[in-house]
């Protein structure tokens, strides 16, 4: 029964992350929402690794890879945000229409 609790927690965290990703207008908050979603995926991986594969914990290996790539994503994302902020002088998602049309 414990596995289901963790999976439902991860699903709820993922949905909160999607809501923040779509509705927030500050770019930094969008990056935070992406981090929330990545953490939800990690929680899923760890739950499966503990309950379905406890001897060969491959899920933990995958979680370490996901943590590494999330750190890389945060660094590049913030660099892009900084460079856009220098050019457009705003952090509003609705005004970043460079690639829109």
């Amino acid at each position: 029964m414990q596995l289901e609790y963790f999976l439902i927690l991860a699903a709820a965290l993922f949905c909160v992350g999607i809501y923040g990703l779509v509705t927030s207008r500050n770019v930094i908050r969008v990056l935070m929402s992406i981090e929330l979603m990545l953490n939800a995926v990690n929680l899923n991986l760890m739950a499966f690794s503990n309950y379905l594969d406890p001897a060969e914990i491959k899920g933990q290996v995958f979680a370490v890879f996901v943590i590494t790539i999330a750190a890389a994503e945060a660094a590049v994302g913030l660099a892009i945000v900084l460079s856009i902020y220098r050019n457009r002088d705003t952090v509003d998602m609705e005004q970043f229409n460079l690639l829109k049309w």
Partner: protein
């Protein structure tokens, strides 16, 4: 149910409530600095959940990488783009929010009903526990060797790319004299602003 299972269940509940409450705060609060600190709380709660899942090494890595690096990076990002601007209201913005909320609730219902309906084949082997760190190391250097090396190359590319993207580009109007031929990355000189003027006039 013995005492250990009860403690495990209660602490799972407490950590889950903390995590979800802090995540909602990250998304819904209007002050972004509060959101950044609540994000740290989400990460710490998740690392507690990892400890409940017999994964001490990944819990420590989570605290080190997320709380120590990613969250500090986000805080620095907030400080660097700290422009207090009131976003122009969009007409009918509530429709988008309501639609997104409905989609998220629907997705959560779908996922949780799927989770409850599936009969998981729980393993009965003993968990690795304290030996997990050795098993992870063995995996890294045997069957996950290629992704491990690729991740190291990816981190190097990220390092270089973040520096290149975030530096101030400098396109000189004239060809510099010969003494400038040393291999340096030139940056545009920073405009000098009076301290504290950003937060008042914007």
């Amino acid at each position: 149910m013995n005492l250990a299972e009860g403690v495990q269940l209660v602490s799972t509940g407490i950590l889950g409530v903390l995590m979800l409450g802090a995540a909602l705060g990250v998304v819904l609060l209007s002050n972004i600095v509060y959101s950044a600190f609540l994000l740290a709380m989400v990460f710490v709660s998740i690392s507690g959940l990892y400890i409940l899942l017999n994964a001490g090494f990944v819990a420590a890595a989570q605290v080190l990488v997320y709380v120590g690096a990613v969250n500090i990076l986000i805080l620095f990002g907030i400080m660097l783009v700290n422009k207090r601007e009131d976003f122009q209201p969009i007409s009918n913005a509530w429709i988008g929010k309501a639609a997104t909320g409905a989609v998220c609730v629907g997705l959560f219902t779908l996922l949780s009903s799927m989770v409850m309906a599936t009969s998981w084949q729980l393993s009965t082997e003993a968990p690795a526990g304290e030996a997990a760190i050795e098993i992870i190391g063995l995996h890294f250097f045997s069957d996950f060797l290629l992704p491990f090396e690729l991740v190291s190359v990816l981190l190097l590319m990220t390092l270089v790319g973040a520096i290149i993207l975030a530096r101030r580009e400098y396109i000189p109007d004239y060809e510099p004299a010969d003494e400038q031929k040393v291999l340096t990355l030139r940056e545009r000189p920073r405009e000098l602003v009076a301290a504290g003027s950003d937060s008042q006039d914007s």
